[in-house]
Symmetry: C2
Subunit: 255 residues, 2 copies
């Protein structure tokens, strides 16, 4: 099976002019088929403040009323996505920016209002990569903005990590997929205070052991759980690395 790399990069990198250049140089240098998934939350929050729209986050997720949906649509699918696409074209990468409504490729269901009404937020329910698989075979590099649609005309805000995981799982039907999450840290660390303590490879047995020992704790647990959920769903491997260390062998390989 042909290898495909799905790289997720967060807002902190794509919104920092110096960092994004270095990241894109590294991304452009990656050989073979690849997909980029980006965030943009900080820019959305900044634009919302400029426009007098309050930002409300619950459990790390953005409450998205109509005014906020307009803002994230402008920032994610407009400013951030097209700036990345143009920058990649300038680096010889044939990028194609997409949200989930484009080609109808990623459909979601509006999250029902429970204790919290998240508003126009969607949970992914159907991913159709048929056309994207063919475009990738022609050398096209999809650049995915974290917006989906319900198939009835409504755009919905969807977490970029979820987009990356769902895309990686769907592409795993046609590719040997490596899903890479880029952070500020160089990988999973034995000692959070020591950037040199990267664990190069974690298996399920290692993970159990590190949990027992308390080596992996806190916010790293859901990341590892999500990684193994993706692997259970067909993704070959997950990498957690720093945004400027994308080459094979860098960061932590999770298998």
């Amino acid at each position: 099976m042909t290898k495909l790399q799905v790289i997720k990069v967060g807002g902190a990198v794509v919104e920092d002019a110096a960092a994004v250049g270095a990241f894109l140089d590294g991304f452009a240098a990656l050989e073979g088929p690849k997909v980029l998934v980006h965030g943009g939350g900080r820019s959305a929050t900044a634009l919302a403040a400029q426009l007098g729209v309050p930002t409300v986050m619950v459990g790390g997720r953005r409450v998205t009323d109509a005014a906020m949906l307009r803002i994230v649509t402008m920032v994610y699918a407009g400013e951030v996505n097209k700036t990345l696409v143009a920058a990649l074209q300038g680096r010889g990468v044939n990028a194609l920016g997409l949200c989930g409504a484009d080609l109808g490729w990623m459909r979601s269901t509006r999250r029902p209002a429970g204790e919290v009404d998240y508003g126009f937020v969607g949970d992914v329910c159907r991913v159709d990569t048929t056309v994207l698989v063919d475009l990738i075979a022609r050398g096209v590099v999809p650049v995915l903005a974290p917006l989906t649609h319900d198939g009835q005309g409504q755009l919905l805000n969807t977490n970029a990590d979820s987009i990356a995981s769902e895309a990686a799982k769907a592409f795993a039907r046609d590719f040997d997929v490596t899903l890479t999450f880029c952070f500020e840290h160089p990988g999973v660390l034995r000692d959070p205070a020591d950037a040199g303590s990267v664990i190069p490879r974690i298996t399920r047995d290692d993970y159990r052991k590190y949990l027992d020992q308390g080596v992996i704790s806190g916010g790293m647990i859901p990341k590892l759980d999500n990684a193994y959920a993706a692997i259970d769903a067909g993704v070959s491997r997950v990498v957690i690395t720093r945004w400027d260390a994308l080459q094979p062998g860098q960061g932590t390989l999770i298998q």
Copy 2:
């Protein structure tokens, strides 16, 4: 040759919630391959005002400094483009939103500063429809935002009428192209005050005659000149019609 319709619709329609629904119903009902080109200038001007960025127009063209480029990128490629794409998907049309940087399909050259420095404004210099032609054969409907790129990483603002004309000319290599411009009027009128006086068909001989008689004058002259320039470059026919009258036989047919 397979027929292709390239439909240009202006900001006044796509920014009016009632009008855009009726327009999209008509667009969705059009049979066969089709492409939509949209504007969005009024929304850009409104957002600019909210953000305290002055809008400067010279000869109907927007002067685009860095702050204004960010605004038009957010509005054209984000808000307007993705709202249209989601609405078309909801109507069963497999829409794909693109700016000129996506797939590198429309490249432009930054306009040199002369008497006026338009800033980040590009004049189209290269159109590559190869991938789009294949996507259209698969039933995909491109939805084109009025932004281009210079191939070096820079997005540039480009007039939507120019995008429509340049796209139509490039598609004419592979399709029998009808280029339709949607306005508030139902076509070219014999009497501007009488919406019932639509001229159903204009040939070059007719055009000369109408010019001599003063039937066609003022702002209609550049529209007709542009129509014949497109026809000279390979477009089969140009239609000028109202945004809610897209079916064959409506409006003014220019040949």
